[in-house]
Protein backbone atom coordinates (compact mmCIF):
# COMPACT_ATOMS: atom_id res chain seq x y z
CA UNK A 1 0.00 0.00 0.00
CA UNK A 2 1.51 3.26 -1.01
CA UNK A 3 1.74 5.72 1.77
CA UNK A 4 1.10 8.80 -0.27
CA UNK A 5 -2.31 7.60 -1.24
CA UNK A 6 -4.22 7.37 2.00
CA UNK A 7 -7.53 8.77 0.90
CA UNK A 8 -10.59 7.10 2.30
CA UNK A 9 -11.58 5.63 -1.01
CA UNK A 10 -8.21 4.05 -1.65
CA UNK A 11 -8.32 2.62 1.86
CA UNK A 12 -11.69 1.06 1.11
CA UNK A 13 -10.50 -0.32 -2.20
CA UNK A 14 -7.39 -1.82 -0.64
CA UNK A 15 -9.20 -3.33 2.32
CA UNK A 16 -9.41 -7.07 2.79
CA UNK A 17 -12.33 -9.02 1.34
CA UNK A 18 -14.22 -9.49 4.57
CA UNK A 19 -13.93 -5.85 5.57
CA UNK A 20 -15.08 -4.88 2.09
CA UNK A 21 -18.07 -7.17 2.43
CA UNK A 22 -18.92 -5.63 5.77
CA UNK A 23 -18.68 -2.18 4.25
CA UNK A 24 -20.89 -3.20 1.34
CA UNK A 25 -23.52 -4.56 3.71
CA UNK A 26 -23.45 -1.41 5.75
CA UNK A 27 -23.66 0.79 2.70
CA UNK A 28 -26.63 -1.16 1.43
CA UNK A 29 -28.29 -1.03 4.83
CA UNK A 30 -27.79 2.70 4.94
CA UNK A 31 -29.20 3.18 1.46
CA UNK A 32 -32.28 1.05 2.11
CA UNK A 33 -32.89 2.56 5.49
CA UNK A 34 -32.87 6.00 3.95
CA UNK A 35 -35.48 4.91 1.44
CA UNK A 36 -37.57 3.69 4.35
CA UNK A 37 -37.00 6.84 6.34
CA UNK A 38 -38.24 9.07 3.56
CA UNK A 39 -41.13 6.82 2.66
CA UNK A 40 -42.27 6.46 6.26
CA UNK A 41 -41.90 10.15 6.87
CA UNK A 42 -44.11 10.97 3.91
CA UNK A 43 -46.66 8.29 4.78
CA UNK A 44 -46.97 9.23 8.41
CA UNK A 45 -47.18 12.95 7.80
CA UNK A 46 -49.84 12.33 5.15
CA UNK A 47 -51.78 10.16 7.60
CA UNK A 48 -51.57 12.84 10.24
CA UNK A 49 -52.74 15.54 7.86
CA UNK A 50 -55.63 13.41 6.59
CA UNK A 51 -56.68 12.57 10.12
CA UNK A 52 -56.84 16.23 11.06
CA UNK A 53 -58.81 17.08 7.90
CA UNK A 54 -61.21 14.22 8.38
CA UNK A 55 -61.84 15.07 11.98
CA UNK A 56 -62.61 18.65 11.00
CA UNK A 57 -65.18 17.58 8.43
CA UNK A 58 -66.58 14.90 10.71
CA UNK A 59 -67.20 17.22 13.63
CA UNK A 60 -68.41 20.07 11.43
CA UNK A 61 -71.89 18.53 11.56
CA UNK A 62 -71.89 17.06 8.09
CA UNK A 63 -74.47 14.39 7.34
CA UNK A 64 -72.83 11.04 7.88
CA UNK A 65 -74.53 9.49 4.85
CA UNK A 66 -73.19 12.13 2.51
CA UNK A 67 -69.73 11.80 4.02
CA UNK A 68 -69.90 8.07 3.44
CA UNK A 69 -70.96 8.57 -0.11
CA UNK A 70 -68.19 11.04 -0.74
CA UNK A 71 -65.57 8.65 0.54
CA UNK A 72 -67.00 5.78 -1.49
CA UNK A 73 -66.94 7.91 -4.61
CA UNK A 74 -63.36 8.83 -3.91
CA UNK A 75 -62.50 5.20 -3.76
CA UNK A 76 -64.24 4.53 -7.03
CA UNK A 77 -62.08 7.21 -8.59
CA UNK A 78 -59.03 5.22 -7.59
CA UNK A 79 -58.01 7.59 -4.86
CA UNK A 80 -57.08 5.24 -2.05
CA UNK A 81 -58.80 6.03 1.24
CA UNK A 82 -56.46 6.99 4.02
CA UNK A 83 -56.43 5.35 7.40
CA UNK A 84 -59.12 7.17 9.24
CA UNK A 85 -61.47 7.13 6.27
CA UNK A 86 -61.07 3.38 6.02
CA UNK A 87 -62.14 2.95 9.62
CA UNK A 88 -65.10 5.22 9.18
CA UNK A 89 -66.16 3.48 6.00
CA UNK A 90 -65.89 0.03 7.50
CA UNK A 91 -67.91 0.98 10.57
CA UNK A 92 -70.57 2.97 8.83
CA UNK A 93 -71.02 0.48 5.99
CA UNK A 94 -71.52 -2.35 8.39
CA UNK A 95 -73.92 -0.31 10.45
CA UNK A 96 -76.02 0.63 7.41
CA UNK A 97 -76.14 -2.90 6.18
CA UNK A 98 -77.36 -4.21 9.52
CA UNK A 99 -79.85 -1.42 10.16
CA UNK A 100 -81.59 -2.17 6.87
CA UNK A 101 -82.48 -5.66 8.07
CA UNK A 102 -86.02 -6.48 9.13
CA UNK A 103 -85.57 -6.46 12.85
CA UNK A 104 -82.15 -5.29 13.84
CA UNK A 105 -80.95 -6.41 17.22
CA UNK A 106 -79.31 -3.35 18.77
CA UNK A 107 -76.57 -5.22 20.59
CA UNK A 108 -75.72 -7.29 17.56
CA UNK A 109 -75.61 -4.22 15.33
CA UNK A 110 -73.29 -2.30 17.62
CA UNK A 111 -71.12 -5.30 18.24
CA UNK A 112 -70.81 -6.06 14.59
CA UNK A 113 -70.02 -2.43 13.78
CA UNK A 114 -67.36 -2.43 16.46
CA UNK A 115 -65.85 -5.59 15.06
CA UNK A 116 -65.72 -4.18 11.56
CA UNK A 117 -64.02 -1.06 12.83
CA UNK A 118 -61.60 -3.09 14.91
CA UNK A 119 -60.58 -5.06 11.85
CA UNK A 120 -59.99 -1.88 9.86
CA UNK A 121 -58.14 -0.45 12.81
CA UNK A 122 -55.77 -3.36 13.10
CA UNK A 123 -55.12 -3.17 9.38
CA UNK A 124 -54.29 0.50 9.70
CA UNK A 125 -52.08 -0.23 12.64
CA UNK A 126 -50.21 -2.70 10.54
CA UNK A 127 -49.63 -0.28 7.71
CA UNK A 128 -48.57 2.46 10.13
CA UNK A 129 -45.90 0.16 11.49
CA UNK A 130 -44.50 -1.23 8.25
CA UNK A 131 -40.72 -0.91 7.82
CA UNK A 132 -40.29 0.21 11.39
CA UNK A 133 -38.85 -3.18 12.38
CA UNK A 134 -36.37 -2.88 9.54
CA UNK A 135 -35.25 0.52 10.78
CA UNK A 136 -34.99 -0.85 14.29
CA UNK A 137 -32.79 -3.71 13.24
CA UNK A 138 -30.55 -1.49 11.14
CA UNK A 139 -30.27 0.85 14.09
CA UNK A 140 -29.28 -1.84 16.52
CA UNK A 141 -27.27 -4.21 14.35
CA UNK A 142 -25.20 -2.06 12.02
CA UNK A 143 -22.85 -0.75 14.73
CA UNK A 144 -22.07 -4.35 15.59
CA UNK A 145 -21.45 -5.26 11.98
CA UNK A 146 -19.15 -2.28 11.66
CA UNK A 147 -17.39 -3.26 14.84
CA UNK A 148 -16.92 -6.75 13.53
CA UNK A 149 -15.27 -5.39 10.39
CA UNK A 150 -13.04 -3.17 12.49
CA UNK A 151 -11.98 -5.90 14.84
CA UNK A 152 -11.23 -8.18 11.93
CA UNK A 153 -9.19 -5.51 10.15
CA UNK A 154 -7.21 -4.64 13.27
CA UNK A 155 -6.63 -8.31 13.97
CA UNK A 156 -5.15 -8.74 10.53
CA UNK A 157 -3.01 -5.67 10.74
CA UNK A 158 -1.59 -6.82 14.08
CA UNK A 159 -0.89 -10.20 12.66
CA UNK A 160 1.01 -8.47 9.89
CA UNK A 161 2.86 -6.49 12.55
CA UNK A 162 3.99 -9.66 14.25
CA UNK A 163 5.67 -10.81 11.06
CA UNK A 164 7.83 -7.78 10.39
CA UNK A 165 11.17 -7.34 12.09
CA UNK A 166 11.00 -3.68 12.74
CA UNK A 167 7.60 -2.65 13.95
CA UNK A 168 6.77 0.93 13.25
CA UNK A 169 3.54 2.79 13.50
CA UNK A 170 3.47 3.07 9.73
CA UNK A 171 3.11 -0.68 9.33
CA UNK A 172 -0.10 -0.88 11.35
CA UNK A 173 -1.59 2.56 10.90
CA UNK A 174 -3.05 2.06 7.41
CA UNK A 175 -4.64 -1.22 8.45
CA UNK A 176 -6.19 0.26 11.54
CA UNK A 177 -7.36 3.30 9.66
CA UNK A 178 -8.93 1.07 7.04
CA UNK A 179 -10.58 -1.04 9.70
CA UNK A 180 -11.99 1.96 11.50
CA UNK A 181 -13.84 3.00 8.35
CA UNK A 182 -16.10 0.01 8.93
CA UNK A 183 -17.11 1.34 12.34
CA UNK A 184 -17.64 4.78 10.89
CA UNK A 185 -19.92 3.33 8.25
CA UNK A 186 -21.83 1.35 10.84
CA UNK A 187 -22.47 4.49 12.80
CA UNK A 188 -23.34 6.35 9.63
CA UNK A 189 -26.03 3.80 8.92
CA UNK A 190 -27.21 3.45 12.51
CA UNK A 191 -27.62 7.02 13.68
CA UNK A 192 -30.30 8.14 11.19
CA UNK A 193 -32.06 4.82 11.63
CA UNK A 194 -32.20 5.20 15.40
CA UNK A 195 -33.50 8.73 15.19
CA UNK A 196 -36.07 7.83 12.54
CA UNK A 197 -37.18 4.72 14.36
CA UNK A 198 -37.76 6.54 17.63
CA UNK A 199 -39.59 9.36 15.97
CA UNK A 200 -41.75 7.22 13.70
CA UNK A 201 -42.57 4.68 16.38
CA UNK A 202 -43.82 7.47 18.61
CA UNK A 203 -45.77 8.99 15.74
CA UNK A 204 -47.35 5.66 14.77
CA UNK A 205 -48.31 5.05 18.37
CA UNK A 206 -49.94 8.42 18.59
CA UNK A 207 -51.84 7.92 15.33
CA UNK A 208 -53.00 4.58 16.55
CA UNK A 209 -54.35 6.05 19.74
CA UNK A 210 -56.13 8.76 17.77
CA UNK A 211 -57.73 6.13 15.52
CA UNK A 212 -58.88 4.14 18.50
CA UNK A 213 -60.33 7.19 20.16
CA UNK A 214 -62.14 8.07 16.98
CA UNK A 215 -63.50 4.54 16.62
CA UNK A 216 -64.85 4.63 20.16
CA UNK A 217 -66.45 8.01 19.66
CA UNK A 218 -67.96 6.97 16.38
CA UNK A 219 -69.30 3.80 17.89
CA UNK A 220 -71.00 5.72 20.68
CA UNK A 221 -72.51 8.12 18.13
CA UNK A 222 -73.93 5.22 16.16
CA UNK A 223 -75.27 3.68 19.31
CA UNK A 224 -77.03 6.93 20.17
CA UNK A 225 -78.39 7.27 16.68
CA UNK A 226 -79.68 3.74 16.66
CA UNK A 227 -81.54 4.17 19.92
CA UNK A 228 -82.87 7.59 19.02
CA UNK A 229 -85.02 6.35 16.19
Amino acid sequence: MSEENLSILSLIINASMLVQAVMAILFLASAISWVMIVQRGMYLSAAQRDFRQFEETFWSGIDLNSLYREISEQQDENVPPTGIENIFRAGFGEFNRLVRLEKPDPDAVIESTDRAMRIALSREEESLGTHLPFLASVASVSPYIGLFGTVWGIMNSFRGLAMVQQATLATVAPGISEALIATAMGLFAAIPAVIAYNRYAALAERMNTSYETFADEFSSILYRQFHAR
Partner: protein, 249 residues
Protein backbone atom coordinates in the same frame (compact mmCIF):
# COMPACT_ATOMS: atom_id res chain seq x y z
CA UNK B 1 -50.20 4.75 -6.55
CA UNK B 2 -49.00 7.42 -4.16
CA UNK B 3 -47.39 4.66 -2.18
CA UNK B 4 -45.13 3.75 -5.09
CA UNK B 5 -44.44 7.42 -5.62
CA UNK B 6 -43.30 7.80 -2.04
CA UNK B 7 -40.95 4.86 -2.46
CA UNK B 8 -39.52 6.40 -5.60
CA UNK B 9 -38.97 9.70 -3.85
CA UNK B 10 -37.36 7.90 -0.95
CA UNK B 11 -35.05 5.99 -3.26
CA UNK B 12 -34.08 9.19 -4.99
CA UNK B 13 -33.33 10.99 -1.76
CA UNK B 14 -31.30 8.05 -0.53
CA UNK B 15 -29.35 7.80 -3.77
CA UNK B 16 -28.59 11.52 -3.79
CA UNK B 17 -27.44 11.39 -0.19
CA UNK B 18 -25.14 8.45 -0.64
CA UNK B 19 -23.70 9.61 -3.92
CA UNK B 20 -23.11 12.97 -2.28
CA UNK B 21 -21.22 11.32 0.55
CA UNK B 22 -19.08 9.35 -1.88
CA UNK B 23 -18.33 12.42 -3.95
CA UNK B 24 -17.46 14.37 -0.82
CA UNK B 25 -15.07 11.65 0.24
CA UNK B 26 -13.57 11.47 -3.20
CA UNK B 27 -13.05 15.15 -3.49
CA UNK B 28 -12.04 16.33 -0.08
CA UNK B 29 -10.34 13.62 1.81
CA UNK B 30 -7.00 13.68 0.08
CA UNK B 31 -4.38 14.86 2.48
CA UNK B 32 -3.12 18.08 1.00
CA UNK B 33 0.55 17.76 0.25
CA UNK B 34 1.01 20.95 -1.64
CA UNK B 35 4.05 22.88 -0.58
CA UNK B 36 4.07 26.57 -0.86
CA UNK B 37 7.35 28.01 -2.01
CA UNK B 38 7.95 31.42 -0.70
CA UNK B 39 9.55 33.70 -3.20
CA UNK B 40 11.65 36.61 -2.10
CA UNK B 41 10.20 39.92 -2.93
CA UNK B 42 12.50 42.08 -4.98
CA UNK B 43 12.07 45.71 -5.50
CA UNK B 44 13.09 46.43 -9.03
CA UNK B 45 14.65 49.81 -9.40
CA UNK B 46 14.27 51.35 -12.77
CA UNK B 47 15.45 54.56 -14.22
CA UNK B 48 12.66 56.84 -15.01
CA UNK B 49 13.16 58.05 -18.52
CA UNK B 50 12.01 61.51 -19.08
CA UNK B 51 10.58 62.07 -22.50
CA UNK B 52 12.61 64.77 -24.19
CA UNK B 53 10.53 67.77 -24.42
CA UNK B 54 9.80 68.83 -27.93
CA UNK B 55 11.52 72.09 -28.68
CA UNK B 56 9.07 74.80 -28.81
CA UNK B 57 8.90 76.11 -32.26
CA UNK B 58 8.15 79.67 -32.32
CA UNK B 59 6.00 80.60 -35.08
CA UNK B 60 6.99 83.71 -36.74
CA UNK B 61 4.36 85.48 -38.46
CA UNK B 62 5.30 88.20 -40.69
CA UNK B 63 3.27 89.72 -43.26
CA UNK B 64 5.27 90.84 -46.24
CA UNK B 65 4.20 92.71 -49.19
CA UNK B 66 5.21 90.51 -52.05
CA UNK B 67 4.24 86.94 -52.46
CA UNK B 68 7.62 86.18 -54.03
CA UNK B 69 9.42 87.42 -51.04
CA UNK B 70 7.04 85.56 -48.88
CA UNK B 71 7.65 82.33 -50.77
CA UNK B 72 11.37 82.73 -50.57
CA UNK B 73 11.20 83.50 -46.96
CA UNK B 74 9.05 80.48 -46.41
CA UNK B 75 11.51 78.30 -48.24
CA UNK B 76 14.33 79.60 -46.18
CA UNK B 77 12.39 79.09 -43.07
CA UNK B 78 11.57 75.55 -44.13
CA UNK B 79 15.20 74.78 -44.79
CA UNK B 80 16.22 76.30 -41.56
CA UNK B 81 13.63 74.28 -39.72
CA UNK B 82 14.75 71.12 -41.46
CA UNK B 83 18.30 71.73 -40.49
CA UNK B 84 17.29 72.51 -37.01
CA UNK B 85 15.25 69.37 -36.76
CA UNK B 86 18.11 67.28 -38.11
CA UNK B 87 20.44 68.75 -35.54
CA UNK B 88 17.81 68.11 -32.93
CA UNK B 89 17.56 64.52 -33.99
CA UNK B 90 21.28 64.05 -33.86
CA UNK B 91 21.43 65.58 -30.44
CA UNK B 92 18.56 63.44 -29.31
CA UNK B 93 20.19 60.28 -30.58
CA UNK B 94 23.39 61.07 -28.79
CA UNK B 95 21.48 61.76 -25.64
CA UNK B 96 19.58 58.49 -25.94
CA UNK B 97 22.76 56.53 -26.45
CA UNK B 98 24.33 58.16 -23.45
CA UNK B 99 21.26 57.43 -21.41
CA UNK B 100 21.20 53.79 -22.49
CA UNK B 101 24.85 53.38 -21.69
CA UNK B 102 24.36 54.91 -18.28
CA UNK B 103 21.40 52.69 -17.64
CA UNK B 104 23.29 49.62 -18.64
CA UNK B 105 26.18 50.51 -16.39
CA UNK B 106 23.85 51.13 -13.52
CA UNK B 107 22.08 47.87 -14.15
CA UNK B 108 25.31 46.00 -14.05
CA UNK B 109 26.33 47.72 -10.87
CA UNK B 110 23.02 46.94 -9.32
CA UNK B 111 23.25 43.26 -10.28
CA UNK B 112 26.74 42.98 -8.87
CA UNK B 113 25.62 44.64 -5.66
CA UNK B 114 22.69 42.30 -5.33
CA UNK B 115 24.86 39.29 -5.93
CA UNK B 116 27.31 40.42 -3.32
CA UNK B 117 24.51 41.04 -0.86
CA UNK B 118 23.03 37.60 -1.52
CA UNK B 119 26.34 35.92 -0.97
CA UNK B 120 26.84 37.88 2.21
CA UNK B 121 23.48 36.83 3.58
CA UNK B 122 24.11 33.21 2.65
CA UNK B 123 27.44 33.24 4.38
CA UNK B 124 25.90 34.76 7.51
CA UNK B 125 23.20 32.13 7.47
CA UNK B 126 25.71 29.32 7.15
CA UNK B 127 27.72 30.71 10.01
CA UNK B 128 24.62 30.98 12.11
CA UNK B 129 23.71 27.38 11.41
CA UNK B 130 27.15 26.24 12.31
CA UNK B 131 27.05 28.20 15.52
CA UNK B 132 23.71 26.69 16.40
CA UNK B 133 25.00 23.25 15.69
CA UNK B 134 28.02 23.79 17.89
CA UNK B 135 25.83 25.17 20.63
CA UNK B 136 23.68 22.09 20.47
CA UNK B 137 26.72 19.84 20.62
CA UNK B 138 28.13 21.56 23.66
CA UNK B 139 24.77 21.45 25.34
CA UNK B 140 24.50 17.78 24.71
CA UNK B 141 27.98 17.19 26.01
CA UNK B 142 27.19 19.14 29.14
CA UNK B 143 24.07 17.11 29.63
CA UNK B 144 25.96 13.87 29.24
CA UNK B 145 28.64 15.09 31.63
CA UNK B 146 25.97 15.94 34.17
CA UNK B 147 24.48 12.48 33.82
CA UNK B 148 27.89 10.89 34.28
CA UNK B 149 28.49 13.01 37.37
CA UNK B 150 25.14 12.03 38.75
CA UNK B 151 25.91 8.36 38.35
CA UNK B 152 29.31 8.64 40.02
CA UNK B 153 27.89 10.73 42.84
CA UNK B 154 25.20 8.13 43.45
CA UNK B 155 27.73 5.35 43.78
CA UNK B 156 29.80 7.35 46.28
CA UNK B 157 26.68 8.20 48.20
CA UNK B 158 25.89 4.54 48.45
CA UNK B 159 29.33 3.85 49.91
CA UNK B 160 28.90 6.59 52.50
CA UNK B 161 25.47 5.32 53.38
CA UNK B 162 26.67 1.80 53.85
CA UNK B 163 29.57 2.81 56.05
CA UNK B 164 27.41 5.01 58.20
CA UNK B 165 24.78 2.37 58.74
CA UNK B 166 27.46 -0.14 59.68
CA UNK B 167 28.76 2.23 62.32
CA UNK B 168 25.43 3.32 63.69
CA UNK B 169 24.06 1.70 66.79
CA UNK B 170 20.50 2.73 67.24
CA UNK B 171 19.59 3.76 70.77
CA UNK B 172 16.71 2.01 72.58
CA UNK B 173 14.76 5.25 72.61
CA UNK B 174 14.65 5.34 68.81
CA UNK B 175 11.14 5.38 67.44
CA UNK B 176 9.96 4.60 64.00
CA UNK B 177 9.11 8.10 62.83
CA UNK B 178 12.17 9.86 64.22
CA UNK B 179 14.54 11.56 61.84
CA UNK B 180 17.74 13.48 62.32
CA UNK B 181 19.67 15.29 59.64
CA UNK B 182 23.38 15.92 59.89
CA UNK B 183 25.73 17.85 57.70
CA UNK B 184 29.12 16.19 57.32
CA UNK B 185 32.14 18.21 56.25
CA UNK B 186 34.68 16.26 54.26
CA UNK B 187 38.13 16.86 52.84
CA UNK B 188 39.38 15.32 49.61
CA UNK B 189 41.16 12.54 51.46
CA UNK B 190 37.75 11.36 52.63
CA UNK B 191 38.31 12.34 56.21
CA UNK B 192 35.44 13.72 58.22
CA UNK B 193 36.35 17.15 59.56
CA UNK B 194 33.04 18.25 60.98
CA UNK B 195 29.61 17.04 61.94
CA UNK B 196 26.66 19.17 62.85
CA UNK B 197 23.11 18.30 63.34
CA UNK B 198 20.95 20.49 61.16
CA UNK B 199 17.64 18.91 62.11
CA UNK B 200 17.23 17.31 65.48
CA UNK B 201 15.03 14.29 65.98
CA UNK B 202 13.86 15.66 69.30
CA UNK B 203 15.50 12.86 71.22
CA UNK B 204 18.92 13.69 72.61
CA UNK B 205 20.11 10.09 72.74
CA UNK B 206 19.17 9.56 69.13
CA UNK B 207 21.00 12.69 68.01
CA UNK B 208 24.07 11.66 69.98
CA UNK B 209 24.05 8.21 68.42
CA UNK B 210 23.94 9.74 64.98
CA UNK B 211 26.87 12.00 65.69
CA UNK B 212 28.72 9.06 67.13
CA UNK B 213 28.13 7.01 64.00
CA UNK B 214 29.67 9.71 61.81
CA UNK B 215 32.66 10.13 64.06
CA UNK B 216 33.19 6.39 64.13
CA UNK B 217 33.18 6.20 60.35
CA UNK B 218 36.05 8.69 60.56
CA UNK B 219 37.28 8.45 57.00
CA UNK B 220 35.77 7.41 53.72
CA UNK B 221 38.84 6.13 51.93
CA UNK B 222 36.99 5.46 48.71
CA UNK B 223 36.44 9.15 48.18
CA UNK B 224 40.09 9.62 47.37
CA UNK B 225 39.48 8.07 43.96
CA UNK B 226 36.96 10.70 43.08
CA UNK B 227 38.03 13.50 40.77
CA UNK B 228 38.37 16.81 42.50
CA UNK B 229 35.79 18.64 40.44
CA UNK B 230 33.02 16.31 41.48
CA UNK B 231 34.20 16.46 45.07
CA UNK B 232 34.10 20.21 45.14
CA UNK B 233 30.73 20.13 43.48
CA UNK B 234 28.96 17.66 45.69
CA UNK B 235 31.00 16.15 48.49
CA UNK B 236 32.57 19.08 50.28
CA UNK B 237 29.60 18.93 52.60
CA UNK B 238 27.09 16.10 52.59
CA UNK B 239 23.64 16.06 54.21
CA UNK B 240 22.56 12.75 55.65
CA UNK B 241 19.16 11.94 57.10
CA UNK B 242 19.06 9.24 59.76
CA UNK B 243 15.86 7.48 60.64
CA UNK B 244 15.51 4.16 62.48
CA UNK B 245 14.53 2.12 59.44
CA UNK B 246 17.18 3.37 57.11
CA UNK B 247 19.34 6.32 56.46
CA UNK B 248 19.09 8.45 53.43
CA UNK B 249 21.48 10.82 51.85
Amino acid sequence: MSRILSYVIGAMVSAVLHVGVIVALWANWQPSSETVYLQPKYVVAELVQLAPRAPAVSKEKKTSATSDQLARKKKRQLEERKRKSRADELRKNAKKAALAARKKREDEERLALEKRRLEESRRVEREQQQAEWEDMLTQKEAQMDAQEDQRAANSYRQIIQQRLSENWSRPPSARRNMEAQVRIQLVPTGRVVGVNIIKSSGDAAFDRSVEQAVRKAHQFIELQAMDSRLFELKFRSVDVAFSPEDLRL
